[in-house]
């Protein structure tokens, strides 16, 4: 499939009701933020009332490194909180 048909990844955060904070609900693919919000309502809230949704491009999420707490934060925080090495599915391998 052509790259021009691929939609970028968005992370979805939902606040179920007043008094709570936004929690990470999952992710979805969309071409822009309005579609991402619109789809997030369908997927993660089934359009419940009074719910607040944030969508953030996954590429914009900065993450701290694992296994480091309190005083040991690495100043060079990484860009993506997913696994750093991109995984290629080998072609021709069966039952992968």
């Amino acid at each position: 499939m052509s790259e021009t048909s691929e939609w970028p990844l968005w992370e979805v955060f939902v606040r179920a009701k007043r008094g709570l904070g936004h929690l990470h609900a999952g992710s979805l693919h969309a071409a822009d933020s309005r579609m991402a919000l619109h789809h997030a309502r369908d997927l993660y809230t089934r359009r419940g009332e009074g719910v607040s949704i944030w969508v953030v491009p996954a590429a914009a999420v900065a993450a701290s490194s694992p296994d480091e707490r309190d005083a040991f934060f690495d100043p060079a925080a990484d860009k993506v909180y997913r696994h750093p090495a991109f995984f290629q599915l080998p072609k021709g391998a069966e039952h992968l």
Binding site: H29, A30, R34, M35, H39, D42
Partner: protein, 246 residues
């Protein structure tokens, strides 16, 4: 003539047939997220259909419930507009149908939610919120397809041009809408509908089509050839087991 019954029955038929067409996108939508969205819209329409058909049955007073009305009437007894029965075509065609019909429904339900008839008002109040979402969904897509690639623009333009003639029936009154005490005069919805549709089409870099050919007949049971297949499929299993419960 029991005009109130006929009026509510048509609205139920509109929603039922719209739902049936949307259901045909299930497992075939252009993206998984869209499969979920279209199924949600279909579920909303189906819910409206069930509530309206049930109410129509009660108004009729002959003991027909939602299933008797959906599965045991002949094609010529359905009063939905032709627009909703049109085959789905490509995604652009379905988006055009959804935009034009959804905008009409949303305006209609806004009026009906002020109805003196409490059951109808209740159904309409819920449906206003649902159809607002449907219109938003269709508008987002109309704009993205209209102002996307050359191919999507071409397809969306064709879709709008081909569906347009069928929109006139939405705003055409008749003896039923004149006689029914609970009816909203469909003509009254046209100005607001026009304004909304114009805005979306402009944003989508699409021209509003010229008014010309204006097919009608759905409201009086004169349907398209496609409708026969749609109803056949909808009713076949139910009819194969007369009297059975499911």
């Amino acid at each position: 003539m029991n005009a109130d019954h006929h009026y509510v029955l048509r609205l139920g038929d509109d929603a039922l047939i719209a739902a049936q067409r949307l259901i045909q996108w299930c497992t075939r939508a252009p993206a998984l997220e869209e499969d979920v969205a279209l199924a949600n819209i279909a579920l909303d329409q189906l819910g409206q259909a069930r509530a309206l058909l049930t109410m129509a049955g009660e108004l009729e007073g002959r003991g027909r419930d939602e299933d008797a009305l959906a599965y045991e009437r002949a094609e010529s007894e359905f009063g939905n507009v032709l627009l909703v029965e049109l085959a789905n075509g490509d995604f652009a065609f379905s988006v055009a149908k959804m935009l034009f019909f959804g905008a009409y429904q949303n305006l209609l339900y806004q009026e009906l939610s002020a109805s003196a008839e409490p059951t109808l008002a209740g159904i309409a109040a819920k449906a206003v919120k649902e159809t607002a979402y449907h219109v938003e969904h269709a508008a987002l897509w109309t704009v993205r397809l209209g102002d996307g690639t050359e191919e999507s623009h071409r397809r969306m333009r064709s879709a709008v041009d081909e569906v347009w003639p069928y929109t006139h029936e939405l705003f055409t009154g008749d003896e039923v809408t004149e006689a029914a005490s609970i009816a909203v005069r469909p003509e009254s919805l046209r100005p607001a509908w026009s304004e909304l549709v114009d805005e979306v089409l402009t944003d989508a870099t699409l021209r509003r089509p010229e008014d010309g050919w204006a097919p009608t007949g759905g409201r009086t049971g004169a349907h398209t050839e496609d409708f026969g297949y749609l109803i056949g499929e909808l009713q076949v299993l139910h009819r194969a087991h007369p009297g059975a419960r499911w």
